[in-house]
Each structure stands twice: as C-alpha cells, then as structure tokens.
Amino acid sequence: MEKMSRVTTALGSSAINGRTMFCHLDAPANAISVCRDASQVVVAGRNIFKIYALEEDQFVEKLNLRVGRKPSLNFSCADVMWHQMEENLLATAATNGAVVTWNLGKPSRNKQDQLFTEHKRTVNKVCFHPTEVYMLLSGSQDGFMKCFDLRKKESVSTFSGQSESVRDVQFSMKDYFTFAASFENGNVQLWDIRRPDRYERMFTAHTGPVFCCDWHPDDRGWLATGGRDKMVKVWDMTTNRAKEIFCVQTIASVARVKWRPEKKFHLATCSMMVDHNIYVWDVRRPFIPFATFEEHKDVTTGIVWRHQHDPHFLLSGSKDSTLYQHMFKDATRPVDKANPEGLCFGLFGDLAFAAKESLISSDSNRKPYPGGDRRYPIFFFKKPDQTEQFAHVSSALSVFETDLDSNCMDWFVKTAQLYLLCGKPFAELCDHNAKVARELKRPQVSTTWTMLRIMFSDPANLTPGPNHPLSKLGTLPLMNSFNMKEMNSGMGAESRLERSKGESRQDNSHLEPGNSLISNNNEDNEETEGSEGQAEYMFGDAELDDDDLYSMEHDNQTEEQEYTLPQEAFQLRHEIMDNPSAPEHLQQDKADSPHVSGNEAEVTCLTPIESFSLISISQPLFTPQLPASFFCPIVREMLSYYAEKGDVQMAVSVLIVLGERIRKEIDDLTQEHWYTYIDLLQRFELWNGPMR
C-alpha cells in the first residue's frame, strides 16, 4: 500500500508511541501547535507561552518564552503556529494587533525575532506557508489579512476582505498560491497570494461568524468550515460554485476544526462555549460522533493532530489550564451507548422494529419483509483494526403488519352475510351468531352472543354449552357489572342500603331538573317515587359505582361528558349529524322509568332491597330465578359499548335478535343512530337479513 509506506517513511524508524496524558499549565491556553517531528508542542495564551517536550509518558516543560520582568502585550497570544519546515521558527498573533516571530535558535533568553505591528486590532490567526519558508499570513479583527516575508521588515501585501473581522486564514495544502479566509459575517473567501486587490471567490458558508476552516490534507478541493451556527460544513471547491457536500450539526458553536490525518472522512472539532468535549466525526455519519474525548473540564481552545501522518494522537489545550495528549484508542465511542433498537408505528397500525441483527436472527419465525430486509448501508469494509470503524452497525428491520382482517372491513361483510337475525328460536340464533363470530376470530363478540343466550333464554335451558368459552370472558361491561354486584353484595346489607339510598337520592335530584320535561312527554312514564323507585335505582347504582371512581359528585356535567365523547367518535365514523347529548339523557331517563312500570315480574322479585341483598348473598347472581329483563340495563350498556367502539353491527344485530326483549330499553333516537348500520350495508351492497 502506497500510503502506508509513506507513513512509515515519514515517521522514520522511531514510530510514535505514548499514552493518554496531561499536564497542568499555569494559565488558560488559547492555541497550541506542534513542531514537524511531533516531539515538541508550544502552548500560547494570554498569560502563557511555553514549549513542552512530548515524552513517552509525560510532558516536560522545555522553555518559557514569556520572559522579562514585565511582559509586554506582545506576549498575550491569540494564536500560535510552529513552522512546518523550519524547526526553530514560531509565529504568534497578539491580542494588541502585533504579529511576532520567534527564533528558538537565538542564544539569548528572549527569542523574539521580528515584530510586525501593522494590524490595528487583535490578530486572530497566523499561518505559515506549508512549503515556503519565509511566508507568513495573518488575519485580524480589523478585516485585513497581511502577508509577510520574514526577510523584510514589513508586510509585502495586504488583502482587504471588506467584510468584517477575519477569524481564520489557511494556506491550501496543494495549491501553492491559494489561501482561504473565514469571516465573522459568515463568508469564506479564496485568495490568490499574488493578487491582493480582489478575492478569487467568495461564498456565504454559515449564518453568523465562521470561526474556523481547514483544508483537507489529501484532497485539494475540500474545505471544512465551522461556525457559530453550530455546523461543520465540508465544501467542494473544485466546482464552479462551492458546493456543500457534508454537513455535521453539533451542539455548540464550532471553534476549531481539523481533518484527521490519513482518514479521508474524519475530522476533529471542539466548541467555543458550553461543550468541553472534543469530537471526531465521520462526515458521512453526521448524526453521531465517531469518537469523543471528554477529559477537559473547560472549553477546549486548541486541537492539533500530533503528527501529520499519524491519526492516533490528538493534542489539545484548554481554558482549564491543561494540556492533553489523547490516544485514539482511549476515546469514548458514543455509538456504543446509542440505543441500537428503534420502534415505530405506521399509519395503518403497522409496527416497524429495527434491532441488531444478532438479536433478531435467532427468531426463526420471522418472515422476510416483502421489500427485502432493509438494512443500514454499511460503508465500512471489514478492516482488521476494530478501533477504526464504527461499531458494527448492521441491523435488521422487521415490519409487523397488523392483521389485515381486523383492519379492513372484510369481517364486517362476512358477519353481515352470515349472521342470522330472525327466523329461528332465540337460543339458536345466538348460538349461530356466536359461532360465526368465533370463526371470524372475534371472541369477545362470540362470548357476548353466548352470554345473551344464557341471559335471555328460558331458564330451563340454561346449561352452558360445551363450546362456551367462559374462561375467556371478554365482554368488559358485562364483567364489570358482575364484579360490581358481587362486591356490593358482599358488603353488609345495612351499608348497602345506606349507600343505595343516598345515591339514589342524588340521582333523583340530578335527573329532575334536566329531565322533568322529557319525562312528561313519555307516555309510559308512571310514578317513579316510592320503594319501587329505589329498588330500580339499584341498577343505576351498580353502574354509577363505577363512575364514582372518576367523580364522586356525579352531576349532570360529568355524565354528559362521559357520554358525549364516545358518541362523537361514533358519529364521526358513521357521519350522522345529530345532537348526541340530549338523546342520551332521554335514554337514561326512559330506561329507568319504563323499567319500573313496565315489567311486573321483575318488580316482584326486586322490590325490597333487603330481599335482593339476601338473594345475592345466598346464591350466585345468574340464578335461573332471575328474569331475563333483569339484565336489560346491562345489555343496554353493552350495546352502547359496542356502538361506541364503532361496532354498530353488533349493536343492531343484538337489537334485532332480542327484539321486544330489549327494544323499549333503548330510546328511538339511539336506535335510529344504530340503524345506520343499514346504510352501511347498502354501501357494501349486502341485501340480506337486516335489510328486511
């Protein structure tokens, strides 16, 4: 491999080794730079200017360049750069606008070589030409860039960006004459060093200041920029118009960006505020950092790769007054902590689930997804070095489709076709319909039919059929009511009485103001006062206990709410315009009143509360002695439940099958609502039973 050989030659026989290590500086660092052979690093800041030697397992202070009894402002550095050709040559940018060069070969203690005080404001950046020994470039807050020839006393050319402060200047690695400059107003300019009057090219790269830029070390066309808008962008400059080819969104404004040597798509960034970490990104995977160094306690101000051909060591200086050498293998890999599983619902109830392949492959039942298994594209080829690739990211995506039958209206059509609603004895109808429902895999409906048969059939026939799936009782309202009753009956008869009385009174009072008018209209309505009335309210009571869980005050309003909401859903589905709340009241009222007056048999059984309590204590509730209409309120509730669930079919079917047994329980308006089932049948062109 050609590249590898180059690396080894570059590194020579003494391959760099070392470990993650740090040392304390006396003051916050603003910038760092390494010399070419990666043996020394210079740290510069407002109150520090030192050279450290990089040894095997520690930093050793070699030289303090900040000398003199009272250091001048020229020592207050905003930036520093070590010449990559000349080992003894350093340049610093001072906050007072001076550009200073330092010659380490000087015998005296003060190594200051040359001083250029041409900039009016702080110099933000200095940059040596990568191949030309005497050429130095500076970029300043005053909006000018100056090119210095170190053999001369003053600058040889001045470039006016004409667009505010210069934040960074970088010579191109490959084009001898080109340099890039980034500005506080979001622009990036390309200049030809020979032509100081006008930039070659300019484009707006970021909203807000562009703090840094870096040329790709290998690819001549690529320029990475980072700005206050928290983005790192990679631009392809070879085209006519600078094209953004990658964009990484970070969490804080980007202060520095440095391409990682020998890794085409990797770059390191650190931020200016808030975030102290150093991130190494793979620009092709912009959503999660490839690696993170989390050692610094304060904002990282300078990052540099230790050697220009070695991707394993990163040096960084920080405002927390430390200098770190990071080993790449010690870096945190955020991808390891990322949750590799994802779960999402589709619009039609489909469920997509992505997980690591290893987890899913064990599941042999998995059917291949029609569109083929969609896996993450893997752009990392297997390489021997595990640390140099992202965590194995291949994962499998499973899509669980909801049972289509439950989604489309097939079951509806089939049920409509197969249900028998009349023409046979009641019990048979129920059994038949239960069977139909069971075959269509609707156990709840099936059980309901069975229950209906049990409730309303002749008591003598009451032997649970062999196929009676009591264990899987799914009719929720039914169950609830039963449970409630059992519980209530378990309570002492006295307390039961107290409660029922209290609540029935409450009930009365709440029904009265709203419904007196309606009750008058009802021709069936008779006296509802007296002991019979109280007995009647027992049922209401059983229901209301349930409601009391939600609201003790059980006033008109809560009741309305309770019914309005589901009714709306119901309405929407079937597109009927009607006022939902009024009929519900009506229904409540009617359901109560005719019940008392209409059915004599029931009254005899239920009138005295005490007797009821006795019954409920001494024997199970489904005693054959109980008349069918005992269950009417429950059935009514159940029908409402189905209707609210959107299953009008069930409600109507039951209504028809039960016929007179239940009809008067439910007011006409509601029944009319439910009979929109007929409209639906028309829509499906099912001209059968119920249509008649």
Partner: protein
C-alpha cells in the same frame, strides 16, 4: 412630492413610543463628557432607507426606543423623513434618519447633497420575506447616488425579517442578494463600492448585533477600546466583556474573543433588568432623579457558577462582564482594574473630543499605554 423635515427636538416625537423619557433620567449636572462635542449639524448620520413596509421604522423603534417588537405591528407607515437625534440620550453620537419608503430621488426638493454629505452609514433595509427584485433596483439607485456625493459612506444592507426563514434559506437569500447587488454594481463600474450584508430580525438580538457592527465601524476609537477591554479582561480573569450603550443595548466594543449570541442576550437582559428596576423604584415621586448614574452597578450570580457584573463607565456607557464565580473571589482586584479601565476610557473620549483633530490614533495610544501601565501594576 415635497419632503418635510421634522424637528427632532420636539418632545412629542417620543410620545409615540412612550417607553423612554427623552433624557433617560440623567441628571443635568452630569454633563462632563459629551458636553463639548460638536454640534448636531456635523454629527455623522445613520440613514435608514428601503422600500416602504420593509421595517425601517420598526428597527428604529425597537433599537433606540425600546419598543417591544410586537408593538411594531401597529406602526403606521412613515410618510416624511423622520430625523431622530439620539445623541442626548445615547453615547452613539448619531442622528438616525428614517426615510419613508417612497422618496423620489429625482424630485428637485430632494437635496441629496445635503442628505448624503454628512452621512456615516447608509442602512438599506430589504424585506427578505418579500420579493426583493424591486428592492435591489432601489438599492442600486440609492447607493450609486450616495456614492457619487460621498464615497466615504459605509453601505450596510439589512436583509430583514429573516425570522420566518429556515437556516438554509437565510444563507441562500444572502448569497443571492449579494450576487445580484454586486453584479449590478460591477456593471455600473462601481466595484469599489462595498456592501456589507446582515441578516436581521427584530424578534431576536440579530438587529442589535447588526447595529452594533454598523456603529462600531463608525467609531474611530474602536481599536483602542477593544484593546483596553482585552487588557482589562485578561488581568481580571473575566471571560467576556461588552461596552454597552445603555439606551440602545448596542455594544460599541467588546474584547476580541468571538461574540456568543447567548452571552450577548444575557447581558442585554441584565441591562434591561437594572434600568427597569431603577426607573420604577429609583426615581423620585415627581420623576426627577437618575435611572443610571455613577453609582449604578449590579452583580447577578447565575446558577451555572457564572457571575454577571455591570458597572457604569460613562453616563451613557456601561461595562457588562461575564465571569466565573472563582474569578469573582478577587473582587477587589477586579474593582481596581475597573477603576483604571474607566479612567482610560474617559481619557480616550476626551482625546476624541479635543477640538483640533484630536481623533488621530497616535493620540489615542497615549491613553492606551497609560491604561496599560495601570493595569499592569494592578496584577
């Protein structure tokens, strides 16, 4: 169309806003600094121009009169040149001229000579949410005409109302406007004329930042101020320092580290808090007294172990710093350094106000070295 000039000294012009008394509650006795400044006639002017309904008056009201951005919805469109002299309440020694959108340059009564001669900066406002082709034509016409009269004007273009645009769209708009405007200038052989573009919105602090930059360009003392701030913060362990014009919340200088929007907003909010509290509870019953005077200072400790520190510098300027709690333990040092800093700033502006061409940078540097010596000894 004839153009009327409105007398800026009419107190009534401020009643439109009603949020700030004209003199901002400064005592009349405190006129040591800006007393001897030049008369208003030759003050550098900032002109606000642009098509009608592009947001010029809103900018002016929000930045200089503390109007809440939402209230600007109800501003009537301006129909005459509105000359607003803010120098009596603000450090910024400028007149803001708010031109109505429909100024006709060809009108003989439009005295372009008079208008552009003493102008420091011309701000042209472009509504980014609108089609800006017409605005660009207008821009070209305006700047080329102004350039002929006075080539020293800074031409600033505010791409305004960008709050509704996405980030990409913002950049694209800026790029497009830059491209078209400069192409047109190149066609007219005006390559030397330079336009600076800013993305602004009155609903965040971008308008303040843009105005800060416009004002900073007109300040000959800026490098000195920046340097002083640099020295001050590096010797006091301060992270970031702004020199604010208290009325407008424009920062006229900051140290050379990059401005972070959050810090800037934080400092703006601090000024608001201090001035508001002072205005409400600090003034006498009859409205006399000062909302902001020599004694004004404030310290706010934040829950992220940073401290906000505000100090009066001159009667229009305040220094607002952000520093860490640890650094604030050396409060005495900071106060001593501030004392030196304040003295240096006063000297800088006194030099600037010397009648005979005292604005040269060499004179300013004396103030700087003086300050430098003081600060050095404080450490």
């Amino acid at each position: 169309m004839s153009i009327q000039y409105e007398d800026p000294t009419l107190a009534g012009s401020y009643d439109v806003v009603g949020s700030f008394p004209k003199s901002f509650g400064y005592g009349a006795e405190e006129q040591d600094l800006e007393e001897n400044c030049s008369t208003s006639a030759d003050k550098p002017r900032i002109l606000l121009m642009g098509l009608r309904r592009s947001g010029k008056s809103s900018i002016q009201k929000v930045v200089f009169h503390k109007m809440s951005p939402n209230e600007t919805l109800f501003l009537e469109s301006t129909n005459k040149i509105y000359k607003d002299d803010i120098s009596s309440s603000s450090f910024v020694n400028f007149q803001i001229w708010d031109f109505p959108g429909q100024v006709d340059f060809l009108d003989p009564t439009f005295d372009s000579e008079m208008i552009f001669k003493g102008t420091g900066a011309l701000i042209f406002v472009i509504d980014a949410q609108d089609d800006y082709v017409e605005a660009l034509e207008r821009l070209h016409l305006t700047v080329s005409r102004a350039y002929k009269v006075n080539p020293d004007i800074n031409f600033e273009v505010f791409i305004h109302k960008v709050d509704g645009l996405s980030d990409d769209h913002k950049i694209e708009t800026q790029r497009d406007i830059h491209q078209r405007a400069n192409d047109e200038l190149a066609d007219a052989n005006l390559e030397k004329l330079h336009l600076s573009l800013y993305l602004t919105s009155i609903y965040d602090h971008s308008i303040f930042e843009a105005f800060s930059k416009v004002v900073q360009k007109l300040l000959p003392q800026l490098p000195t101020l920046e340097n002083l701030l640099n020295i001050f913060i590096s010797h006091s362990g301060i992270e970031k320092a702004f020199l604010f014009d208290v009325v407008s919340k424009i920062y006229i200088a900051t140290d050379s580290s990059p401005v972070d929007m959050q810090s800037y907003e934080l400092c703006c909010d601090m000024i608001d808090v201090v001035i508001d509290v002072s205005c409400i509870y600090g003034l006498m019953q009859d409205g006399s007294g000062c909302a902001y005077d020599k004694e004004s200072s404030a310290i706010i400790r934040l829950n992220n172990s940073t401290v906000l520190y505000l100090k009066e510098v001159t009667k229009f300027l305040a220094l607002v710093c952000i520093l860490r709690e640890e650094s604030f333990e050396r409060k005495g040092l900071i106060e001593y350094n501030f004392h030196c800093f304040r003295k240096a700033i006063h000297e800088v502006f006194e030099v600037g106000n010397l009648p005979q061409g005292g604005r040269s940078s060499s004179n300013n540097l004396t103030g700087l070295t003086y300050a430098g010596a003081h600060n050095g000894s404080a450490v």
